[in-house]
Structure formats: C-alpha cells, structure tokens
C-alpha cells in the first residue's frame, strides 16, 4: 500500500468516527429526536430538515440510529478485542514460557479453533438459553444482555492470532540475557512472564489487537444482522441491516449507510494494524 493515506490517517478516521458516535446525545438534543421513537406515519421518510438522512422502516431518524449504532458497534469491537487480546496473551505466554507438553496442548487447541468453521458455532453460542446456565431470568431477559453476550462470544472467537504471536515472541524472549538474569535472581515464572516478557512483547500484541478490532466488528455485524447479536431496540450497524434485504427495492439507502460505515471502520482498523506493524517491525514485507 502506498503512503498516500499517511501513516496515522486510519487512526484519525477512527477517532473521528468514535467522536461522532459519542456525540449522539448532542445531535439528538439539538434536533429533538429520540433514536428509538417509532413513528409509523413517517416510514421511509426522504431526507429533510427534521431528518437529515430520512427515516427507516419504523419511522426512526436514520442519523440518530447510525450514531447510536456506531456507539454500540465500536464499543463492542473495542471491549471484545481487549478480551480476546487478554485471553490470547495468557495462552501465548503460558505456551511459550513453559514449552513442552503444555505448549503442544495449547497450540493444538489454538490450531483447532483456527481451523473450525467459527460462524456456525458462534450462532449456536448466540442461541444458548442463559437461564439453563443458571443465570437469573431477570438478567437473562434484560435488554442489555445481548450486548454482554456478543462481547463474550466475539471475544472467544478472536484470541487465536494473538496467542500465536505472543507464543512466538515469548519463545524468542525466553532465551534473552535479561530474562535469564531475572530467572537467575530467583524470579518466579509468573513474575518473569508478566514483568519481563510481556512488556517486551507489547508491540506485536498491539498490532494483533488492532487487527482483531476489525475482525470482531465483522463478527458482531453478521450475528446482529442474522438476528442473533444486538437485539432491537438497541441499534447496531449489523441489526440496522436485518430488514435491508426486503427493502432493497423500496429504500436502498437503508442498506447502504450502515454497510459503508462498517466497511470504513473495519478497513481503517486493518490499515492501522498494517501500518503499525510496518513501522514497528522492519522485517515485515507487507510494506
């Protein structure tokens, strides 16, 4: 990729979009709009002064829905990617540091998860009845539970890249003098892993985390699109597209905006990850 877009431009785009999404309440107050207010007399409204981008199939303001959806999609992406990074880092550190049987076991597990058809499994996980797991019905049926559920599910699906990267780094760092010195001074295994190895492996971890944000947002959007992720009335870019297939004849714009936003966010996460890797790792050939 050429440097045309600048090294930090993808980050700038993401910050701008996040700022826009965070300003949803300001927009709603300024226009006097409730993003969840259904108004069936205003269905499929054309863009106007009161509704800058028009209204959706239930007469809700599209701009407000897009901003609210952005909050949800971006925060799910960030939190789930952090979770995936934490899991992957733990597994990678354990496998790389202890080696031997544990390493073989953890890496076979990682390889198996990578090879699995993940989406069908995520669909099953999303369909699991939480009350059967002993979660109190009051929580299992609350509105926000779909948010937490999707964070956990997409996080569980995205830790593998981080785990492999961290393992590789740990294998190399384990033989370095400062690590040997720490071991020689009697530092325990976990102290060596977290105080000496982890900070030095931070660079690839950050790169992998950035790339997994895009991945998580893609998973979130497809699960929400299929009706298994974020549940209405909470808006997410994925579930805003759920009815798009029926409305492509009458209101094609409804199918365009959320998809374009997903594409912009995911592409910029991937670009940022690529750029970071290239600046931080001189050996990488991705340019």
């Amino acid at each position: 990729m050429p440097l045309l877009w600048g090294r930090l431009l993808p980050g700038g785009v993401l910050v701008l979009l996040a700022a826009l999404a965070l300003s949803a309440p300001i927009y709603e107050a300024a226009w006097g709009i409730d993003p969840n207010a259904v108004d069936l007399s205003q269905r499929y409204g054309q863009p106007s002064l009161t509704h800058p981008l028009g209204t959706d199939e239930l007469g809700r303001d599209l701009v407000a829905r897009l901003l609210r959806g952005g909050r949800v999609s971006l925060s799910v992406g960030l939190v789930a990617a952090l979770m995936a990074t934490a899991i992957g880092t733990m597994i990678g550190l354990l496998a790389g540091y202890f080696g031997g049987k544990l390493d073989a076991l953890l890496m076979r597990l990682t390889d198996s998860v990578i090879a699995l058809p993940l989406l069908p499994l995520l669909i099953v996980l999303a369909a699991v009845d939480l009350t059967k797991l002993g979660v109190p019905a009051a929580i299992a049926q609350s509105e926000d539970v779909s948010l937490y559920r999707i964070v956990i599910i997409t996080g569980l699906a995205s830790w593998t890249t981080v785990a492999r990267l961290v393992r590789g780094e740990t294998l190399a760092l384990r033989e370095r003098e400062f690590v040997l010195a720490a071991i020689g001074q009697g530092a325990g295994a976990f102290r060596v892993m977290f105080v000496h190895i982890f900070p030095n492996a931070l660079t690839p971890i950050i790169v992998a985390a950035t790339l997994s944000v895009g991945n998580v947002i893609l998973f979130e959007s497809v699960l929400s699109f299929l009706g298994l992720g974020i549940q209405p009335p909470i808006a997410s870019w994925g579930n805003m597209l759920t009815h798009a297939q029926e409305t492509i004849w009458s209101a094609p714009a409804l199918a365009i905006y959320p998809g374009v936003l997903i594409l912009i966010v995911v592409a910029n996460c991937n670009l940022l990850g690529d750029r970071l890797r290239d600046s931080l790792d001189p050996r990488s050939v991705g340019r």
Partner: protein, 323 residues
C-alpha cells in the same frame, strides 16, 4: 509421508470427537427441549406424560450418558430424525452437502485464480500503479462484511439491472442446468470476492519475500530464464506459506458459505445449520454442525498433504521427530 498423513488424520478425528461433545452440550443449552416442544404442539399431554416421554427419550439421564448413547447410535449410522422435516437427518444432509461443496469449490477456484494471479502480478511489479490498485481492492475485499457484499450484488444485478435472480435456487429435478448455473452466479461471486482479497495479500507478501532470497539470485546468476526463475524457483517456494494460510482459511470459507447461502436462499449446509438452530431442530443442527466441521477438517487435511508434497523437508522432519 504415510506416517504424516496418518497422524494428521488421527488428530482430525480427535478434534471431531471433542467438537461433537461440545456441540452436543451446547445444543442442550438452547431454548426449550424436545418434550417442551411436543407439549406446546399437543396440549393434551399431561405432566405425567411428559415425565414418561422424558424417560423414554432418556432426557432425564446425565448429559455424558446421553452423549454416549447418541455417539453409539451415530457410529452405527443412526443420526436421528429431523423435527422440522420429520425425516431421517442423514437423508436431508446429502443433497445439501453436495450444494455446499459445489458453492465452496466453485468459489475457491475463482478466488484462487483471481487472488493468486493478482498477488503474483503485484509482487512482480511492486509499487506500480496496478500494484497499488490491487492493494486497495484486496483491502476492501477483506474489510467488507460478506452479507453486505451479497446485498450490494443483489441490488446491482437483480434490482437495478434485473439480469440475475436474487435468491431461490430451484430444487426440482426438472430444472435445467442453465437455470441452476444462473442461480449460482451471484452466490459464487459473493463468496469468491470476499475471499480473493486475502489470498492476493498472502500471495504478494510470500512472493516478494521469496524473490528476495539468495537462491533466486543464484538461479539468475546461473543463467536461468526469467520465466523459470519466477515460476520454478519463486512460485513453488512462495506457494508453501500461501497454502498453509489457505488451509487455515477453510473454516472462514465455510462461514462465508453460511452467510452467502442464507442471503441467497441457497439450499446448502450453511443455511441448513442456521434454519435448524432457528427452528430448534436439535438433531439436524447437531449433525449439520458436525458435517461442517468435518468438511473443514478434510479441507485442512488435503492442504496439509499438498504442503508436504510441495516441501519435501516437512515429511522428512515428521518422519524423524514423529510429530
């Protein structure tokens, strides 16, 4: 080589066995159970009847025992009945598996031809205008949600241009081959466009790395033609890492197939999984999921063999270390 293949096959079987237990457990956690559904459809059943039915179907036993019973039956070829279709699960899977394989193989072929050719071209002309263009396009390909790509293609070719059907693969035996192919165009286009970008990027990176190696310089120095250097010395070596990544991508390809099939109402395994889970059709969901896993594992296995064939060092190392 044989030893390598046998080890990989055994590993695959273990993964499949573990998966079957995990999926069995997860399916049991889905809303409702078969008896609840029977009661819902037949209000005359009393709670005493429900108890008897539960005992009859073994639903009151511990999960491990139920799983072992299911496994014993499954190993004898009895996968149970589908609730929604009231037919043996195995009968339903056959044609759907074929449809999915047609979709996946066709898409993989298109994606590989496009991806490897584009990646190779970009690697041979680094930093040219076309290289940049290929770079941008592959970036868009890996960043676009597959279901949205399907929507866009549907909009363009079915709504605006009106030249291709938006959904509904005809299932009757009287449908001509041409009609079937027409219904395949958009699903295959969706799935291959979604995967081609990744392949392009792998191919380009691997080829650039290989062309920078010493043995390429040696080959040029001894006077090999540029064609021979690129194809015989460069491409064969560059393909090794590319094949690994493609093998690891089979799972993603199946996930893409699920989305594509659901979007285009294409009667394959992916749509069957989604519909079965949505309709609480436990037996069908379980078996379709396992077949999906099996398909991916077989794809992986095939790629592993291809890998060993391309790189003779691997089978040697495997023979010595026994891994």
């Amino acid at each position: 080589m044989t030893r390598f293949a046998v080890t990989r096959a055994i590993e695959g079987l273990i993964v499949l066995l573990v998966m079957s237990f995990v999926v069995y457990g997860l399916i049991g956690l889905m809303p409702g159970d078969p008896i609840d559904l029977m009661i819902a459809s037949n209000p005359k059943l009393t709670s005493a009847d429900a108890q008897r039915l539960r005992a009859l179907y073994g639903l009151d036993r511990p999960i491990l025992e139920r799983y072992l019973n299911w496994l014993t039956a499954a190993l004898q070829g009895d996968f149970g009945y589908s609730r929604a279709f009231a037919r043996p699960v195995l009968e339903l899977i056959g044609p759907r598996l074929v449809n999915t394989l047609v979709l996946m193989v066709a898409s993989l072929t298109v994606a590989l031809i496009v991806g490897l050719a584009a990646g190779l071209y970009a690697a041979l002309h680094p930093r040219s205008l076309i290289d940049d263009l290929i770079g941008y396009l592959s970036f868009i390909s890996i960043s676009t949600p597959t279901f949205w790509l399907a929507l866009l293609l549907m909009m363009l070719f079915s709504v605006v241009l009106g030249v291709l059907p938006a959904s509904g693969m005809p299932v009757g035996a009287d449908t001509g081959l041409g009609e079937r192919l027409r219904h395949l165009i958009l699903p295959v286009a969706t799935l291959s466009l979604a995967s081609a970008g990744g392949y392009t990027r792998y191919m380009r990176a691997a080829m650039i790395e290989t062309l920078g190696q010493d043995f390429i310089r040696t080959a040029r120095a001894k006077g090999a033609s540029e064609m021979r250097v690129v194809l015989r010395h460069g491409l064969r070596n560059a393909l090794i890492p590319v094949i690994t990544v493609i093998a690891l991508d089979f799972g993603a390809l199946f996930s893409g197939a699920l989305i594509t099939e659901t979007m285009f109402a294409y009667p394959g395994m992916g749509k069957a999984i989604y519909d079965a889970i949505m309709a609480n059709d436990f037996n069908l969901a379980l078996v379709t999921l396992l077949f999906a896993t099996l398909t991916t594992l077989v794809g992986n296995f095939a790629a592993d063999l291809g890998y060993a064939w391309l790189d003779p060092r691997i089978s040697l190392a495997a023979g010595r270390a026994g891994t």
